[in-house]
């Protein structure tokens, strides 16, 4: 029988150790996602159709934005292209987060099927396994058109592109993606305690996306406050848009908020991670 030790000894170098701690989950995610991409690629026609279906739904939303702004001319002081920029920021952030983290919303069904127990006995973070489960390239059907819309909008808005602005944009977009991912994980954690919390979670994930696709100024003050201070949706598209356009907040909220994106992102991710740990500690499994 083969008896080679499989253990990889941690080296004494703390830097190498830290790099390993960061890289391992990424490698594991990549491995798991890749096997699903391969599995889906065995049915290319189905994959293509599903991607197209997703793309069509995004385009329908874009159409809605154009029609709304087309009729109103400007909405809350936003032109069509500025509105499309808000839409593009929100849709791309949610799209990317959905692609990489969206599968966490199936936590409840994994718990019921017992497959979550299987994830827990593997030497890989269960969050990574959950997020990478059934990773499908069809979600690119959502991300690509959103980025195209964003690109078109950015090319047509009346903004002076200083190097500072150009650099800020990707930082803000990354923060948006992280905030969306954190919302996804945090809401999925509900399913540790409530079996069918997926729909409730979706009201925040998909509902949040729908909300942040329009300039928040069109909503009531109370809604804008709650998506700024309670669930930080405002930092996904609204505050970055104000920052790019260098426009005063129509609702008179502090201007410092528009620079807060990265900080909020880190806080949101930390909060989500703590919730996840808490949920895992109180996980009851099913059966015996």
């Amino acid at each position: 029988m083969v008896e080679t030790p499989t253990r990889v000894r941690a080296t004494g170098n703390p830097l190498v150790h830290a790099a390993g701690a960061v890289l391992r989950p990424v490698q594991d995610y990549h491995r798991l996602a890749w096997i699903w991409v391969r599995a889906f690629a065995q049915y290319p026609a189905s994959l293509l159709l599903m991607s197209l279906a997703v793309t069509v739904s995004v385009l329908a939303q874009v159409g809605a934005v154009v029609i709304v702004f087309g009729h109103a001319g400007t909405l809350a002081g936003f032109t069509v292209y500025e509105g499309l920029m808000v839409f593009g920021l929100a849709a791309s952030a949610f799209g990317v987060a959905d692609m990489f983290m969206g599968a966490v919303e199936r936590l409840g069904s994994h718990i019921r099927a017992g497959s979550f127990d299987a994830m827990l006995v593997r030497p890989v973070s269960p969050l990574v396994q959950l997020a990478a489960d059934e990773f499908s390239p069809r979600r690119l059907g959502k991300v690509v058109p959103a980025l195209v819309v964003l690109g078109i909008a950015l090319a047509n808005i009346d903004v002076e592109w200083t190097p500072g602005r150009v650099l800020l944009l990707p930082v803000m977009m990354l923060s948006g993606v992280l905030i969306c991912g954190a919302i996804w994980v945090a809401t999925a954690c509900l399913q540790f305690f409530v079996a069918n919390a997926r729909e409730a979670a979706n009201s925040l994930t998909y509902g949040g996306q729908a909300l942040s696709e329009y300039p928040l100024a069109i909503y009531g003050r109370e809604i804008v406050r709650s998506v700024t201070y309670v669930v930080p949706l405002a930092f996904i598209s609204w505050q970055p848009a104000l920052l790019v356009l260098d426009r005063p907040d129509p609702l008179g909220m502090p201007e410092a908020l528009r620079h807060a994106g990265p900080v909020i992102a880190v806080l949101a991710c930390t909060g989500a991670a703590l919730l996840w740990r808490f949920g895992l500690r109180h996980y009851r499994s099913t059966g015996s």
Binding site: T6, A39, G114, R122, Y283
Partner: protein, 263 residues
């Protein structure tokens, strides 16, 4: 079982498995144990078995050559070849169980944890798996922890038996000690030449009569009882039955006072 593998955090008390606290060091522990749940698979439902196993290799960080060697060996021992390329959801229960065992052993863990591995399996699959477990236990020295309701598993496989009744330890020891714990008498089955009324001899009680066949519970040395029976009756055949482990365990659950020193 779920606390031993780190799935559940104990509400009180502590657990140590291969020197680790399962709920705190779950990921680290996972590399040192292999786990198989009889009722559900740890494989990926929609992937062919081969892909599931190669994914397992990456997740456990087993070098490719070592993996290939182990896989070849396990494929041969468990006869996986015919269904390696079949998606897991299309496998029969017995095939799936063999696939699960392979996945649990590819990283050569010193401890294999099996939760009802033979549940719902046919007789042939059961015996294949039992033979396989005995073999890896003997040849690799893999410790095997098994929970089962199938007492055939226990009789065939186990050196040490722990009986748990309503969450409390009812017995912990070897199989012979378990038998000795509960006074379940041996039974002498007597086939008489012709039907007769219940045999009455010293040192045995006739518990059942069915035509010429009679069952006698022994309270005395079997040889003496046999000589007494043959002295008074014309006997066609005799069989001595050891109490089976099932009787012992059910007696234990019914609360037959076990020998104090063993508990």
């Amino acid at each position: 079982m779920k606390m031993l593998t780190g799935i559940l955090t104990p509400t009180s008390g502590s657990v140590r498995v291969v020197g680790r606290d399962p709920s705190r060091q779950r990921t680290r522990l996972a590399r040192d144990i292999g786990v198989v749940f009889g009722q559900r698979t740890t494989l990926w439902w929609d992937l062919p078995l081969r892909d599931s196993l190669s994914l397992t290799r990456h997740l456990y960080r087993v070098p490719a050559d070592v993996h290939a060697e182990r896989l070849a060996e396990l494929t041969e021992l468990l006869e996986l070849e015919p269904f390696l390329d079949t998606p897991v959801r299309q496998l029969s229960l017995g095939q799936r169980m063999r696939g699960d065992l392979t996945a649990a052993l590819l990283h050569a863990p010193p401890l294999l944890v099996l939760d009802e591995p033979t549940i719902g399996l046919d007789v042939v699959s059961k015996s294949t798996i039992r033979e396989f477990l005995l073999r890896i236990n003997r040849e690799r020295g893999t410790t095997i922890l098994i929970t089962t309701h199938d007492l055939g598993d226990v009789e065939r496989l186990c050196d040490r038996v722990i009986v748990i009744d309503k969450g409390r330890l009812a017995f912990d020891g070897g199989l012979p000690e378990l038998r000795a714990t509960v006074p379940t008498p041996r039974v002498l089955v007597v086939d008489l030449a012709a039907p007769a009324p219940a045999i009455e001899v010293e040192g045995a009680v006739t518990v059942r009569v069915d035509g010429p066949r009679q069952w006698l519970e022994l309270a005395d040395n079997p040889a003496r009882v046999i000589s007494r029976v043959t002295a008074g009756h014309e006997v066609a055949d005799l069989t001595l039955r050891e109490p089976d482990i099932e009787g012992v365990v059910s007696a234990l659950y019914r609360g037959a006072a076990p020998n104090e020193s063993r508990v």
